[in-house]
């Protein structure tokens, strides 16, 4: 929108726009354009939610419409009953268990390790920190096969152990995030506590942990998202439908060979996104900070 365009003398009748009006016009065009593109971005999600509320015959006849003509909750009720004798209550319990334990384990262990990197001077610190950063770039595919072999030899297939045990040993992403945050804390506090005779362990629990809360929340949110949405891990290790997470259940449920009821698939899919969106709305600030400062990807 260049200024010369607005000043064209081609239509002499039009009064020249004042600076204020020009700003208002620019602003209106901006908001119109951005709001329209936001709507296009969100349209597929809204479409899925709307479809889940339409009666089966309407889903593929009034397809594009976002307002169900005859709203119904039947798909949520049908969908919840799951498949076989297993309902979605089981899958949600599994997913919640997985996400909660994984999150607590990885955030707690990562905070511990981050404290070593950020606040304690020890031989080899720089070396191990570089090694940790290098592991961030390592494709998981290289580790996947040997890990699977070991876990299956241990008889851990069809249990949550292969998915949970590694999380107790820190996560490089979160360690990095928390280290970055800890480096912003003044060292004077630690030094004062040390002079008062507080040990490193005491400083960690009494001084550092309360101060790094924002970083811990950010890490916890990402950890929850990644476990909630994890697909490859459960796909590899969980074959018994009683152990399925919500993700695995939706995939099994939408299997084309099963004569899929799309209304119910959409209903269960929409429902599975609910926790993600609730956390997103409640903690958006932490997410934006986390990504902008470290490049963490949600």
């Amino acid at each position: 929108m260049s200024m010369t365009e607005l000043r064209t003398p081609a239509i002499p009748r039009t009064p020249r726009l004042s600076k204020k009006n020009r700003e208002a016009l620019k602003s209106a065009i901006y908001h119109l354009f951005v709001a329209a593109s936001c709507f296009i971005m969100l349209y597929p999600i809204l479409w899925m939610i709307a479809s889940s509320l339409k009666p089966t015959e309407d889903i593929w006849t009034t397809t594009a419409s976002l307002i169900p003509r005859r709203p119904t909750l039947e798909h949520y009720i049908n969908g919840w009953s799951g498949f076989g004798t297993i309902t979605f209550s089981t899958f949600y319990k599994n997913s919640l268990f997985f996400a909660t334990v994984a999150t607590i384990a990885s955030v707690a262990s990562s905070a511990c390790v981050a404290y070593a990197f950020a606040k304690i001077r020890f031989a080899g610190r720089g070396f191990w920190f570089s090694v940790m950063l290098l592991t961030l770039m390592l494709p998981g595919q290289v580790l996947m096969i040997p890990q699977y072999i070991v876990f299956s030899k241990l008889g851990w297939i069809n249990s949550y152990l292969p998915l949970l045990v590694p999380r107790f040993f820190g996560n490089a992403f979160f360690i990095f995030l928390i280290v970055q945050f800890m480096r912003g804390l003044p060292d004077e506090l630690d030094e004062a506590a040390e002079i008062d005779g507080c040990s490193k362990v005491g400083i960690f629990f009494k001084i550092t942990l309360p101060l790094i809360q924002p970083a811990l929340i950010t890490a916890a949110i990402f950890s929850f998202y990644w476990t909630w949405e994890d697909f490859l891990g459960p796909l590899l290790y969980l074959q018994d439908p009683h152990l399925y997470t919500v993700s695995l259940a939706i995939r099994a449920y939408s299997d084309p060979s099963a004569g899929t009821n799309w209304g119910s698939v959409f209903a269960m899919s929409s429902l599975s996104l609910l926790p993600v969106f609730v956390i997103f709305v409640a903690f958006q600030r932490y997410l934006v900070e986390g990504i902008s400062t470290t490049g963490l990807k949600g």
């Binding site: 936001c38 909630w228 470290t294």
Partner: protein
């Protein structure tokens, strides 16, 4: 699928010089021990094992058999599916990654303003990305393009009186359903670009405007160079995750039709876990690691030509 890396320089050595610094080796390694033990058990050991397995024939049920370079020979000379998966992966990386970065940059520039409602818009643009890896979105995306039904896009095309396409069963179009899915999820590079744009001093633009530089000139001469470290970071991270894409392809297209969307990670999974060729899968994983390392090194090498660092480097 997630990634992270250092935007800020990570070492702060200067304090080490102060006299009388005591080292705390015991307590240091105590706090480090969870990661260190995990690193040896779940990273280093598997890497070594994977390298060795790459030279064996192993189906997990009977002991591994050393076969030398046979896995690699088969991969490069006797496995046409392998090359189809390589082709699909490169096609994806070289279209989806630039597309996602361009969209992310454009939207970040749109949002780099002090107007009202900007934080609301930012949330709306970011929303598809937080659910991006989920099964729910992949299942939905399949129905957007077709699946067993006409699909959302075709419904709209039909309503507009336009001819419609069977997107998912046409080898030329199927991969684009995945590329558009990637382009739709530009949230995290967008946020990183936005943080970078906010760092550019406004005086630069004001001075350029006084000198009569137009919008395009300001973009090319100020925005791009000032943003180049962030572009570099986003390029590296997105490229790596592009090479590894699995879930979306597994669920939306399943590698079909005619292997046109059989991405590398997907083919590796099929080989290693559906037909239990663990040795062949390990060999594939190592080639993937080397290819990613090669392209990352290439971008790093080229960066001296196009990444502009202010004195003191980026971030600090």
């Amino acid at each position: 699928m997630s990634e992270i890396a250092s935007i800020q320089p990570t070492s702060r050595r200067s304090r080490k010089k102060s006299t009388g610094v005591r080292q705390h080796n015991l307590v240091g390694y105590l706090f480090l021990s969870p990661w260190l033990i995990g690193f040896f058990l779940f990273t280093l050991l598997p890497i070594v094992a994977s390298f060795w397995l790459a030279f064996t024939d192993y189906n997990i049920f009977s002991p591994p058999k050393w076969i030398g370079l046979a896995n690699f020979q088969r991969m490069f000379f006797n496995d046409p599916r392998y090359w189809r998966s390589v082709r699909a992966t490169f096609y994806y990386v070289f279209t989806a990654v630039p597309l996602r970065l361009v969209v992310a940059l454009l939207i970040a520039m749109l949002l780099n303003t002090k107007r009202k409602l900007v934080s609301l818009y930012r949330a709306a643009y970011y929303a598809p990305s937080i659910i991006g890896g989920s099964v729910a979105v992949a299942v939905m995306w399949r129905q957007v393009w077709g699946g067993q039904n006409l699909g959302l896009i075709n419904y709209i095309l039909k309503a507009l009186g336009l001819p419609y396409v069977n997107w998912l069963s046409n080898p030329r179009t199927a991969i684009w359903t995945l590329i558009t899915l990637a382009a739709w999820q530009f949230g995290s590079p967008m946020l990183i670009f936005l943080a970078g744009l906010k760092q550019i001093p406004t005086e630069l633009y004001e001075a350029a405007a006084i000198d009569g530089a137009g919008g395009w000139n300001r973009f090319v001469k100020i925005t791009l160079p000032m943003l180049s470290p962030v572009i570099f970071f986003n390029l590296v991270m997105q490229m790596i995750s592009g090479f590894l894409v699995f879930t979306q392809a597994y669920l939306v297209t399943g590698g079909r039709p005619l292997d046109s969307t059989l991405f590398y990670a997907l083919y590796l999974y099929l080989r290693a876990f559906e037909v239990h060729e663990m040795g062949y899968g390990s060999a594939m994983a190592w080639v993937l690691l080397l290819v990613i390392a090669f392209f990352t090194a290439l971008v790093f090498k080229s960066s001296s030509a196009w990444v502009y660092y202010e004195s003191g480097g980026l971030g600090e």
